[in-house]
Amino acid sequence: MAISRRKFLGWMGAAGLGATVGKSAHAASNKHFEGYPDSPGVLHDIVRCVGCRSCEAACNSVNQLPPPEQSFKDLTVLDRKRRTDAKTYTVVNRFETESGGNAPIFVKNQCNHCLEPACASACFVHAFTKTKEGAVIYDESVCVGCRYCMIACPFEIPTYEYDKALTPRVMKCTLCHPRLLEGKLPGCVEVCPTEALTFGRREDLLNIARERIRRQPDRYIDQIYGENEMGGTSWLYIAGTPFRELGKREDLGLTPAPALTAGALGAVPIVVGLWPVLLTGIYAVSQRKDKIAREEQSEAIADAVAASKEDAAAELKKVLAMKEKEKETAINMAVKKALEEAAKAQEEEAAKAQEEEAAEPPQDDPESKPTEEDS
């Protein structure tokens, strides 16, 4: 399934719209998704963990990661808090909390394999896939190295090979996806000597966790970390002390990562659909205003010209009547003068109209602009 979907991914596949439209949401509505049915996960019982770091060693060997600087047998590593890095998919940290009586508490950390992974939602080449086997896997063959997945991950799990010049990869736990496909357990689960890690259907794991909490309410707090955090994770945790004291953030919220950006992404096609209409409308209105202004202007000019022509004619008559007997040259001069005055008046009129035109409306426009682009 992962493979067939993968093939869809190129635009070539997207062009075969029929197949896509034909896909229906599993749930009754398009709003609610429950994840792959019967998809497996891992339950980490923090109370049972003894901090032996066997899981770290197993992870290192099954994933063929580079050898560590300090041996996995060396427990002094636990003296400082560590995180996953490009050479380490999983780390065990030791916590001493007051509510836990200052006894050492060991917590394993690795990719939680979210039901709705933030990394997958963030990746612009679709390099991450949530598989039906529960694992969130990464395809380095398409990765551009933008590291947005690392920004997005609420658990700060993905790491990057900053020291590689040409082929840097994002590195993170794969839930041993290749081993799962072979029917084997993840390396860490297989090797755990105290059954602090249990692999199984997520539904079953939730029941097991609840059962343990119910049976030993004095050893466990009544919370399953990962049940709902950011839409839930395939890894689940139960512990005897509050999780916030064990390096797990409790303020992540319940909203699955894809839902956080759904609103913004949903606005994109609406902007594309409406902006051209709105902007063309504004353009058409401003053009029309210009046109009307031009028409009014030329009308005014025509009026002015007509008026001045009448004046000129009247004056001409007067001149003619008064100086009937004067020479023709004198008449011609008077006519010329009158016409010149008319032309001048006309020019002034036009210039005045233009000035008023240019000064008036634009003063307000920059203000109205933001309100129109806002929304």
Binding site: S24, N30, T280
Partner: protein, 42 residues
Amino acid sequence: MDGNIFTLQDFMFFTKAITYLVIVAALIAFPAFWLFLTDRDE
């Protein structure tokens, strides 16, 4: 199982792919329609 979508992530992946195709078509269609709308003006 192949025909079904189980996660919001996959649902958005498919629906957004279609939306993007719609957007591209719309951007081409807008100027064309505007020309059709106004080519008898004046």
